[in-house]
Subunit: 135 residues, 2 copies
DNA sequence: TCGCGGTTGACAATGATTCTCATTCTCAGT
DNA sequence: ACTGAGAATGAGAATCATTGTCAACCGCGA
């Protein structure tokens, strides 16, 4: 049971590395399309379909986080593998990772109260960050 | 400042009523497409574009809740106008509305700590309900 | 009754995501 | 190092939710 492989125990192809590197190089969320453009701009020539496949694969294995923009477009971010939430600025897109033991406990309690098990949850906070408030 | 009109102070056209009625008739989330089919099945003949417009309008006015399915499709539900969250069964789709003062406070505190203002947040809990656990 | 702004419906357009399939590459075993 | 089997890739077509366009329509006040 390999638990902490460099790339999550997945076959390390150049294309997948490129996708992961692209995500690692920025600290906010990017859509699959944006990652593709980013790679194209570097001459990587990685196909769009491959970007989608790689992102889905990594998301499956917990190496990247997936969220949805308000318009439904999926956005991805390389992140720590521990459970956490995001605080996102609606103007500039800046993202802060936050942990919330209080929330974890609350959700568990509520779910148990209603007989739910095998839980997962999503919490996103959207707001206007300090820098964008005057604008 | 009309605060509790029957239809949120919006012009009550037959089409909009039909959309709202369709949503009121079920107690879980439905996509715009599903609402449209539902209406078509009753012979209402309401256009798809109109369904989208009505849903967007009601969502804007807080008469319906909007979420995203995992595949990104938007789903809507008629619900109370107070802020609340949802506990959803991943197997049967059953939905429970829950309130979480603790969560509200926590998000405000975290956001303030990082200088964010004008907040909104989304929290969804997905799990397996008691009825679906043995299956 | 007439005119007007808001609403509707049919259909085209958009855009993200997925599928297809022939080609290419990786990995394990020899 | 060589080879076969199966996974991965790229290009483009296909899918599908959602939005835009625009002419026809409706109810309401003048």
């Amino acid at each position: 049971m390999t638990s902490t492989e460099p790339s999550g125990g997945l076959r390390p192809t150049p294309q997948r590395q490129a996708v992961l590197d692209a995500l690692s190089g920025v600290d906010d969320f990017r859509s699959a399309q944006e990652v593709h453009e980013l790679l194209a701009g570097e001459g990587s020539g990685v196909g769009l379909a491959t970007v989608y496949r790689a992102l889905a694969l990594y998301a499956d294995h917990g190496l990247v986080d997936v969220l949805r923009r308000e318009d439904g477009e999926a956005i991805y971010r390389r992140c720590s593998e521990t459970h956490h939430h995001h605080l996102v600025c609606r103007t500039c897109g800046a993202t802060v990772e936050v942990e919330g033991p209080a929330v974890e406990k609350w959700t568990s309690a509520i779910a148990a109260e209603h007989g739910f098990s095998d839980l997962s949850h999503t919490l996103e906070i959207v707001g206007t960050c300090a820098d964008c408030q005057g604008r």
